[in-house]
Homo-oligomer: 356 residues x 2
């Protein structure tokens, strides 16, 4: 039976990525060796990371002022890395608290300096993205989270600030157009729209670096990875290979603009049913609804077993909501076909016919 | 033609690891989903990291005083991590400078406190492991590197110290017996005897933690990873899966004691030929020769093209020495069969017959 995989991440990737990675594990580029047993400095391995970098640059239209880095440790390691690189000794930074990962970024930054939280939606269990805040002009940077995976909210626009804008785009990078030149740093764990778990990307405005006065460990220093073209130490070869193949696929789909249209169609289909169907309620404020993660609850919790049975029958998997929200979460990343959303909507309609 | 892969790392792994990883990319445990598209918190994914951890504990006989952590960033990120976790604010640590990676570990630790280098073989281009040094008793820990991949030297025994012993075992972990209870921390990038590039292991004595007075970023805090059983954030699923399969293979070979015998046989075969053959000279002091990496140079550099041609003809690949030593380096990690060493020795003999 066909599986419809709504996992919040690591998540569905294009079938061709699975196939290419499997092939590379056995016989990389028809070289007679596995990609897992070759030096990351061998010419054909270097080509992988160079191609992945070039594809990020091309697909996101990254200006020459910025460089694209592949690192490890996910967004969680980017939290202190950002502070190490941009928050001056004795300096101050502003953060927007729009969800659990934003709060984690704040927690880590507080180890490094004075953090001003400009606004928070925590009191409303992060059901919206705070708005109407002011960004101080005396801070080293402003940090926000573009998409809040757990709560199903997403920033529809980014503030203009007189300070560098830093954004955790882990769960919506490459899902729609963003103007990279607006940002000082964009970072993302790979395991949503970028590729398999095991690598992270950072897009860094080069002239912001080297100003904090901090003694930064080499691995956490963006300047190291820029100077070494992300080969400061052994990079996660199979993970970056997966990123490269995933980005090739995205390019073949027509790139970010083309996928954004499909993502919009999926989200509209999903939210239309949540709003139409009397048995469900969306948990995020309508204006801030995420195109990546639609969160909703059953109005009659006692019908959960019945709904879950219908989902299972239809092959819909990994729809459970995060424990902080409960209910359900339909994650609709780039590789999820519209058809899977249609199947889910069909299940919700069947459920209504039986129990509505 | 059969390839004999002497790569220094990422390096040869057992064929079954390549096959299992390829299969998991397409259909993980016959679940109908790829291992690349499932949550790292799904039950069958958690089983992977639990099994990998249990296998490290079993194969290395890790005592209950220690825990086994999977992290990202390789040994290079462990350098500052060790200092963050063990070097007190205003404290002091002792380091042995036995090679380039040891020197890098020293460089990173110096950002955190007063580092005493107890001995160095740098002046001799690291052709031996320093001995006869004293470890101060007023330091927070003593750090050494068990095997120096670039220079082909290896510690044959570890000093007894009154302070915690910390060891970078990236290039010889699991190749022979070590008494884990002797060590405060053992760490290793995976990409030699542990598995594919993209994860690192740390074996940490739990009661050493929490004493530095430092405000440690969560990702760099061993205590975080102990508390969260290495699932603090998304771990590199396919890389850890490779580690698990590689450790299963090692267990099937009879474990560390059994592989150590084969490693000794490989090293003896290799060094016997280096010493016998008048066209080559080993670069490391005999008493410190590594069982993992045999470094040697041609006595007549002008014959390099001829020797390289013979290597190519025999399918011997990735034998080039590191630029800091030159010549050749035969890396003989666990998965390299004795047969490959025999083929290389045969080539060296042919070469001698033609040009000796």
């Amino acid at each position: 039976m066909k599986v419809h995989n709504f996992s919040a991440g690591p998540c569905i990737l294009p079938q061709v990525v699975f196939e290419k990675m499997a092939e590379a594990c056995l016989n990389f580029n028809n070289s007679g060796t596995s990609i897992l047993e070759i030096s990351h400095r061998r010419k054909d391995a270097v080509e992988v990371i160079d191609t992945a970098r070039a594809l990020v640059k091309e697909l996101m239209n990254v200006p020459d002022s910025h460089d694209v880095l592949f690192m490890q440790g996910g967004a969680s390691l980017q939290f202190p890395t950002v502070a190490y690189n941009l928050l001056k000794e004795g300096g101050k930074a502003a953060y927007l608290d729009s969800g659990k990962w934003a709060a984690n970024a704040i927690k880590e930054a507080k180890r490094f300096g004075d953090i001003e939280v400009v606004a928070s939606s925590k009191a409303d269990n992060y059901n919206h993205v705070p708005k109407g805040y002011e960004i101080p002009t005396d801070v080293d940077y402003f940090h926000c989270t573009s998409n809040n995976t757990i709560f199903g909210t997403q920033m529809k626009e980014f503030p203009t600030a007189n300070v560098p804008l830093v954004c955790d785009m882990s769960s919506d990078i490459l899902s729609k157009h963003v103007d990279v030149s607006q940002f000082g740093v964009i970072y993302a764990g790979a395991q949503k729209n970028m590729g398999p778990a095991g690598s992270a990307v950072a897009i860094v405005q080069k002239d912001l670096l080297g100003k904090t006065g901090r003694n930064i460990p080499d691995y956490l220093n963006y300047a190291t990875h820029i100077a070494k073209e992300s080969s400061f130490n052994t990079w996660p070869v199979i993970a970056v290979y997966g990123v490269m193949e995933n980005l090739k696929w995205l390019k073949e789909q027509g790139g970010v603009e083309a996928i954004a249209k499909i993502n919009t169609a999926k989200a509209e289909t999903m939210y239309a049913e949540i709003d139409r169907n009397g048995l469900f309620t969306g948990t995020a404020n309508v204006e801030d609804r995420s195109q990546m993660n639609a969160t909703f609850v059953l109005n009659k919790e006692e019908l959960k077993a019945e709904f879950d049975a219908l989902l299972k029958e239809a092959g819909v998997v990994s729809l459970a909501g995060h424990r902080d929200v409960g209910g359900y979460r339909a994650s609709m990343y780039n590789a999820l076909p519209l058809e899977s959303v249609q199947v889910l909507v069909e299940v919700m309609k069947q459920f209504e016919q039986k129990f509505g």
